[in-house]
Every structure is written in structure tokens, then in C-alpha cells.
Amino acid sequence: MEELDPVALRKEFPLLETRRRPDGKRLVYLDSASSSQRPYQVLEAMDTYYSTTHANVHRGVYAIAEEATRQFEEARAKVGRFVGAPNPATEIVFTKNATEALNLVAHSYGRGRLGMGKAVLLTEMEHHANLVPWLMLAGERGTELRYLPITDSYQLDLSDLDKLVDGAGVVAVSAMSNVLGTVNDLRPIVEAAHAAGAVVVVDASQLVPHRVVDVAAIGADFVAFTGHKMLGPTGIGVLWGREGLLEEMPPFLGGGEMIRDVRLDGFTTNDIPWKFEAGTPPIAEAIGLGAAVDYLESVGREAIAAHERALTYQAIELLTDRHGDDIRIFGPGPDDPNRGGVISFAYRDIHPHDLAQVLDSSGVCVRAGHHCAKPLMRRLGVSATARASLYLYNDEEDVTALSDALAKAGEFFG
């Protein structure tokens, strides 16, 4: 495995290459867990598609329409192979984002196939995207929601797993926390869920961009992720679902594309995956996501994971060595080999919003807020955190810039 070179990689990301801070230095972008930047290869793929090939898909019989359809379906197959889908052509559903993918499952499986009286088991560390759709279902049908708690060392507490999963029809869990960086061991959860007759829904939005994810190896039934966190465009998300389950489920949105026949008194649905893709899909975005997959594979996912592991370790060591008790990190320690490159923290008693503002004046972009995980914030006993997140284009210089900017913020607020 060849080590990746973040300085060389950054040259391929136009925003990172051209955008400058007021003092002329390069931007320090530490918010990829919220949304990554994208290389010119992705931008060019979308540009080229619009400039040379655009027509609606699955409709026209003319040459460019066939070419657009072929590129769109090739992108689907590419994304499917990237996450190890056993049947890439039928099991990959393109959505607007991961949120829509999870809403699709909560709606079509939750309302369509989940038996009355069956509970849904979630966790305390879920992003609102894997929480609110289930709360909506509970509000409508009275579905009981249960939660796997987290331990004081920021891991899922599985000690009552067997009891909690008993009577559940769905277990919906994050593969990696967008706040803590905790990468969950899904194996025992999947085993217990399947033994109890529940399907497993995995929100892999934070994991797919950073690690090799193989849906078959995970053994889940649905896996959702999003394009814009993995160097792809916004406006496209992905749901992988088991072929048999997708076949059984009623559609989510109604309209063109998802139908086989429509009469004035009813309709029949298209085959999967198109049954779940009502209306003109995000064609250029799918092609852009395909290009992002090519890019990630050309850099090498093992190399990306190794780079991030090393940098995360360095970052936590540097921040705690230099700032001592002034910094409190909410997440597993640097020695946890499964830990992702998301570092949430509090600095002195400076509110994260103020902290992010002062860091911005040093050209350091971090996220501040509840990270769409308000129940987790309550569990941590805070209203918000600051969060720095790392990706393939970050390096030690970025981490040092963060550390320097924190010291400046400390001086500013005295």
C-alpha cells in the first residue's frame, strides 16, 4: 500500500487550491464530516455529461438519451460494487441524500412491512436523519421506540441488547457517529437483530467515505449513505437494500419512472430499483458520484484509512499535549484503532459558536453546534460542541493551524 500525499492531492481540489484566507494562506478545511470538498475529476465528469450527453434517462430512444441512460446505470453499478452490493444493478437506489434514503426505509418498510406491535430499536448516538423518520412513524402508528445507550467511554452499551431487541422489527444504527467518531461494531447487533427476526438499517454516511465498507460482510438489510461527504456532489444519496426486501416494499414517492402502468383507477409499479426513483433522477449527480468512487479507488481506500488513522492519532495527541485541561474531547481515545477522524471538543468554557467564529478569523473551518444529534448532546451534558473532522486532503499542518487558532481564541476571550 502506497502512502498518500495530501499536499499533492490538494492540488486536485480546486476550492482547497484556490481559496485563500485574508492573510493569503491556504484555507484549513476541517469540516468534511459535514460535507467534503470535491476534486476536479468529479466536477469535470458532471460538466462533460451536461456539455456532451445530457438527455432524460429511461425515456428517449435517440442516441444521447441512450448514452445518458447507460452512464447513469453504470454509475449505479459502480457505486454498488464500491460497497460490495451482491446485486448492484437492482439493489442500489439513488435518493436525494442519506436522509431521504432513511426516510424511504422508515416509510416503505416501516409503514409497509413492519408488523403492528413491533418495536424499533435505535441508539442514543443517532443523527436526526436516523431518528426523526422513526419518531414520525411512532407518532402515526404508536410504534414503540427503544434506544441502545452509550457508555461513558463513548461506545454503544450492548449489555441489554438481547432484551432490547426482543420484540423489535427494525434495528436502525449508525455505523460511525458523526459527533464522537466512534465506529460501531455492527456484528453483534446484526446477529441479535436477525435472531429476533428484525431487519437492520445502517446509517453509513460517516463510514463509507473513510473506510472499506462491504454491505454483504456487515450483514445488514439496508445501508444508507450520501454523495457529498465522499467527494461527490450534493443532491445524491444512496440506499442499498436486500433485493428481496426491496421487491416486497411498497413505493415511497409516486410519479414518473416508478410505474409500469397507470390507469385512472390505479397503477402498477416498476421493477427495482426504479420503483423507488420517482421523477427525473439526479443524473449528473449520479455520474459525479461515480467519478468520486473512481477517485477514491485510485487513491486507495486502505491508504485513505491509514492516513486518517495516523492523522487522528497525531491530532488528539497534539491537542491534548498542548492544551491539557483546556480541551475536552468527546469521543474514544487516540489509541482506539477503530476510531474515525471526527474530533468533537470543548475548549475552556468558550461556547462552540464563539470558538468557531474566532477560528474562522484564522482561516480554520470547523463545525459548531449540536451536529443534528440533540439527544446525544443531552447525554453528553452539553448544548453544543465544536468539531474538527479529517479527510484525505488534511495533514499535520492543518492540525497545527487548529491548535494555534485555539490558543488565539483562548487569548481573545481571556
Binding site: 485574508p22 461556547h351 459558536h353 464563539d354 453546534g369 453544543a384
Partner: protein
């Protein structure tokens, strides 16, 4: 740190470090209203007690950034002892000051009378220190959180009075 001093004026930091009227009031007789900023998770709780149409006492609870907390602190100092009508006027002056930039960036367009930028705010006293916030559009909601909460408390109080009168 260009521009930061415009945002974090000394008086703002002073109210943040030593917030005025911090605490709670017994409900009733006080009115209790909560406000949330969904962006950053800030929460402000405003306790208001009235006597003869005047804000007799006010207390602020909750948590948030320096802008939301100092704005709430300054607000509490400004409305204490004011009539409900005067408090409403203060809210509208303050929100007009904050709306200058909202309009420029396509905000909700209310308070059209202050469409021109940089009108010096009248009668706002030290609250004028928060004017620098308009240069940081994301933070406007931090500054207005307690004021919107106060407006809601006043609405509820007057609605309550009307309901009592009808009963």
C-alpha cells in the same frame, strides 16, 4: 483578527462574563417562555413578572454563545421597569437594527422602514453595541433569540390579561 472586534465589543463580553438578571422567578405570578436556536442549540428562558402593565421583574435562564447571552442580559436590563408598550417598542427598534443586513441578504423583509444600511439606532443605549453582529449574518439569530422570546412572553401576557378580563 479582522472584524472580530466589531462583533465582540467589550460591553458584549462584559455582559457575557457577568450576565445581569440571571436566574428564575416563581411561576405564577411570573410568565415563563423558552426560545431555541435550532442552528446552534442555544436555549434562552425568559421569566417576566408584571404589575400594573409594567415589567416589574425579569430573569434570564438558559445557555448559549456570548452573543445570545449578552443580548439577553442587555435586554433584561433594558426592559425592567418599562411598560409593555415601551418594551414592544424596544423590541421593534432592536429587530430593526438587526434586520438591516437580513434585508441585504434576502431575509424576511419585515421592518422595511430601516431599509437603508447603517442608520444609527436611536434610544437603544448600550444595545447599539450589538449592531456589529449584522456583519456576521449567521449570528443575527443568536442576537435576536431572547428578543423573539420576550415578544412571545409579552403576547402571552397580554392574551392572558384579555382572557382573564373575558372570564
Amino acid at each position: 483578527m479582522s472584524g472580530l472586534e466589531d462583533l465582540y465589543r467589550e460591553i458584549i463580553l462584559d455582559h457575557y462574563r457577568s450576565p445581569r438578571n440571571r436566574g428564575e422567578l416563581p411561576v405564577p405570578p411570573a410568565q415563563r417562555v423558552e426560545g431555541f436556536n435550532p442552528l446552534c442549540g442555544d436555549e434562552v428562558v425568559v421569566f417576566l413578572e408584571f404589575a400594573d402593565g409594567v415589567v416589574k421583574d425579569v430573569k434570564i435562564a438558559g445557555q448559549g454563545c456570548s452573543i445570545s447571552q449578552s443580548s439577553a442580559s442587555m435586554m433584561s436590563a433594558a426592559v425592567k421597569g418599562k411598560s409593555i408598550e415601551e418594551a414592544r417598542q424596544l423590541i421593534s427598534s432592536f429587530k430593526a437594527m438587526m434586520s438591516i443586513h437580513e434585508q441585504a441578504i434576502g431575509g424576511d423583509g419585515s421592518d422595511g422602514e430601516r431599509a437603508e444600511a447603517n442608520i444609527p439606532p436611536d434610544g437603544l443605549g448600550e444595545l447599539a453595541a450589538l449592531q456589529g453582529v449584522v456583519k456576521f449574518p449567521v449570528r443575527i439569530k443568536c442576537a435576536t433569540l431572547s428578543w423573539n422570546t420576550l415578544a412571545q412572553a409579552l403576547d402571552e401576557a397580554t392574551a392572558g390579561v384579555a382572557a382573564d378580563g373575558a372570564a
